[in-house]
Every structure is written in C-alpha cells, then in structure tokens.
C-alpha cells in the first residue's frame, strides 16, 4: 500500500517537473519547484529516509525559494519568447534527450526491485553499519553515526565544499559592505515587510520557536532525525525570516558580516581540529575513541563537536549567501 502512495507522489512529481520545464514564466517555475521539493521530501519519508526528508524540508521549503526569487528579482522574470519553429537544432535536442532517456530506462532493468532484500546495498555493508553503530558508538541514529564517525572524511570534504561555495558567492557578489558604506542610508520604505502588520507580528512571534527548533534538531540529532546540516539550515532560515521582516540592515546589525565569516571558517576549523586532536592523542585523523577514557564516550564527544562545526558552517554560509543576494537588490 505504501508503495502505491509512493507511486502516486512520484507521478505528481513527474507532472510537476514537466510543468516546470514547460512554463516560460520563471516565477511560476520557482513556485512549482517549491511543490516539487515538498513532493520529494514526502517521497524520502516514504522511502524510510527521515533524516534526508528533514534536510529537504529545511532547505527546499525556505532557503531555496528565497535564493531563486532573489535572483529573479535582479534579472528578469520571464524567458524571452523564441520563434516556435522546428529547426534542426530543436529536433536534435529532442532526439538526444529521448535517446538518453531510453538508455537510462533500459539500464533500470538490471536494477534490483524496490525494497529487495537481496540488493547489493543490503548485502554486507548495511548490516555492518547497523551492528557497529550499536557496538562501537551506541547512539540510536545510525545515519548520524555513519555521517559523523564512520565516514567522517567524506563529511569533512562536504563541509569544505559548502564553505568554498560560500566563499565563491562572496567573491562573486561582494559582501555588500562597500556599496553600503558609500550609498545613502536605506529609506524606511525599503526596509522589509514593515507595512504588512499581521505577518510581521506573527513572524516575530515565530522566530524564537524556529531558532529553538534549530537547536533542538542540532543537539537531538543523535537520538532522532536531525544533525548539523539540518540545524544549520533551520537557523539560517530563522535569520532570513528576520531579515525579510525587518529589513536586511537590521539583520546585519544583529549578526554582522564579520561574525558570519568567522562562523563559516570557524565551523570548518572546528571539524578539522577535532580530527587533528585524534592524531595528537595518538590515534588516526578523525578517530574520536581517544577523546575520552571510554572509547564509546569519546565517540559521543567527537560526534557532538563535529556536528556543532557542521551546524555553524552551514548556518554561516547560508546566511552570508542570502546577504550577498539581498545587498545587491538594495544597492
């Protein structure tokens, strides 16, 4: 029965995807992307991936829409109309896409069926991870254990990629500090959604709860779905909500750009430092067992610290990216 639910959701997703590509109005495309993100999160949940669904919820529902709308506000909202004739190049495009689609569908016939217990994924690695999480790390959430401990190198790489992307956006768009210093102070009219009284009051009411939820997800990540990536995104979303309500200047005066840069670098450094601490205490890079007398307790400490590093970096990067886009809009 749940398989049928999944099929229904995925069919809706396919329709949404086609509508996204078909429409010429980019604003509509972004709205439909919001729906697609909700459908994807629901599908993740049906496929037993609660952590991934939480990540998609934190990222797709808020931050992704905000970024795309910011880019649309600064460019144009519509695709330019092109003459509709079946030229050779458009035939070629349809041909290539069709052929590749057929190849991919053909390749799926070798895939193990959905949920098959004899699939290679389930063969030896999954039981090993589940067993070892119980024995070596002793936390309920195997995803957090794999993310932070067994595949710590991998996660360090991902955090560095997020950090690098954030630095890249700041290089491309600037931190906005120079234009703000030179330009006139923003008029009242230009500062957030001040005229919408009800949303503004309610938004201010909700921001503390979102922040609280962010911290809960951060520190509860070992026991339930959650962890640093999700918590960073949720905290960034609360700051972005504040910036939307009160104007970007206010948000920047609460968390200045310097602090954001320190968060971006500091979180990544914290992750690396925990790894180096493992070497200093006489074991391997990112081996947390030596952080405490008791190896299991050491693992707990290591996971807690690096999840904090991840959360700080992700929150810093996402808020910085938002400010970089917003500063361009008000300049």
């Amino acid at each position: 029965m749940t398989t049928l639910f999944g099929i229904f959701l995925l069919t809706l997703l396919m329709i949404t995807g086609m509508a996204i590509v078909h429409t010429r109005n980019l604003f509509v495309a972004v709205m439909l992307m919001g729906i697609a993100s909700l459908l994807i999160a629901a599908s993740f949940f049906l496929l037993d991936a609660a952590d991934v669904a939480l990540t998609e919820a934190a990222i797709g529902a808020g931050i992704s829409t905000v970024l795309f709308l910011g880019a649309l506000a600064l460019t144009s909202e519509r695709e330019r109309k092109r003459r509709r004739s079946l030229s050779t190049s458009s035939l070629l495009q349809f041909g290539i896409v069709g052929v590749v689609a057929l190849i991919v569908i053909w390749a799926t016939f070798d895939q193990p069926r959905l949920g098959s217990p004899s699939a290679p994924v389930q063969a030896h690695l999954t039981p090993w991870y589940i067993e070892s999480t119980r024995d070596l790390i002793d936390i309920p959430n195997a995803v957090t254990a794999v993310l932070a401990s067994f595949r710590g190198y991998d996660t360090l790489g991902e955090v560095v990629v997020v950090f690098t992307a954030g630095v890249g956006v700041l290089f491309l768009l600037g931190t906005g500090a120079s234009s703000r210093a030179a330009g006139a102070p923003l008029s009242e009219d230009n500062a957030g959604l001040r005229h919408y009284l009800i949303p503004r009051i309610l938004g201010r009411l909700l921001i503390p709860f979102i922040l609280l939820l962010g911290f809960y997800v951060q520190f509860h990540g070992e026991y339930g779905p959650g962890g640093g990536f999700q918590a960073g995104a949720i905290i960034a979303a609360s700051v972005i909500l504040y910036a939307l309500l009160e104007g970007e200047q206010r948000a920047l005066s609460v968390i200045p750009q310097g602090v954001l840069l320190a968060m971006m670098a500091g979180g990544t450094l914290l992750f690396g430092a925990v790894g180096v601490a493992g070497i200093v205490l006489g074991s391997n890079f990112l081996d947390y067992s030596v952080l405490s007398e008791d190896p299991v307790n050491g693992q707990h400490w290591g996971i807690l610290l690096i999840e904090m590093g991840i959360g700080i970096t992700v929150a810093g990067v996402l808020i910085s990216i938002f400010h970089a886009f917003a500063a361009r809009a008000t300049a």
């Binding site: 398989t3 099929i7 995925l10 069919t11 995807g17 996204i20 590509v21 980019l26 972004v30 993100s37 599908s43 496929l47 037993d48 991936a49 609660a50 952590d51 991934v52 990540t55 998609e56 990222i59 931050i63 795309f68 880019a71 649309l72 460019t75 695709e79 349809f94 896409v97 991919v104 016939f109 895939q111 069926r113 959905l114 949920g115 098959s116 217990p117 994924v121 389930q122 999954t126 991870y129 589940i130 119980r134 309920p140 195997a142 995803v143 254990a145 993310l147 595949r151 996660t155 991902e158 990629v161 997020v162 992307a165 491309l172 768009l173 990536f229 960073g232 990067v317 886009f325 361009r328």
Partner: protein, 116 residues
C-alpha cells in the same frame, strides 16, 4: 510486483531527462539552473530508493524496530542536498554577474555579443 518495483526508477529516468532537457534546450540561464536542480533531485531519489528495504524502517533505533533501511545512501544524499543548494547559489551568483556584464541572461544573446 515486478513492474511496480521498477516504476520508481522509470520516474527518475523521466525526471532526469526533464531536467536535462531544460539544461540543453532552454537558453535562459536561470532556467538551466532550475533544470539542474531537477536533475539533482532525480539522482537523490534514485540513491534513496536503492537503500530502501521491504518492511524496513528508517535507521534510527527505537522500540519495535528490527529491520532497517541502509543508512549509507541517506548519509551521501543528506550532505549532497546541502552542497547542492550552496552550488546552486554559486551558479545564481555567476548568472547575476553575467547579467551585469552582458545585460542579458539568454545564452544566444550573450554568445552574439562575444562574436563581433
């Protein structure tokens, strides 16, 4: 049951190609990035589907849970989602700079300006 078991993968193939079509055929750069995110989503779903096990539950141990789906694909995709939003932001930043330089975000117009 065989057909239903593969249906998920077919949807991903179609979604993958829908995104790919936007990347190849649409001249608008923002639309290309939207297509790229669709493409990424299809890959994410494909990975998560592979980790699912019949009758299992999410790999978070609790009372009454015996059989767990694979945590490994979930870890890979969890980080990939955050990386994908960062890289999409980087792409959008590039688009904004291109708009500054060329005054357009349509691919053919930009190429037209490059060839005198």
């Amino acid at each position: 049951m065989d057909i239903l078991g593969l249906y998920h993968y077919w949807i991903f193939a179609v979604l993958l190609m829908t995104g790919f079509f936007a990347i190849v055929a649409k001249p608008n750069l923002v639309k290309k990035l939207i297509g790229l995110s669709l493409f990424q989503s299809a890959v994410f779903l494909c990975y998560i589907t592979m980790g699912k096990i019949e009758g299992g539950t999410a790999p978070i141990m609790g009372e009454g849970a015996e059989l767990f789906s694979s945590p490994l694909p979930q870890v890979l995709i969890l980080t990939a989602i955050v990386v994908s939003i960062s890289t999409t932001a980087l792409g959008l930043g590039l688009v904004l700079r291109i708009k500054d330089e060329y005054g357009s975000i349509e691919e053919d117009e930009i190429q037209g300006q490059d060839q005198p």
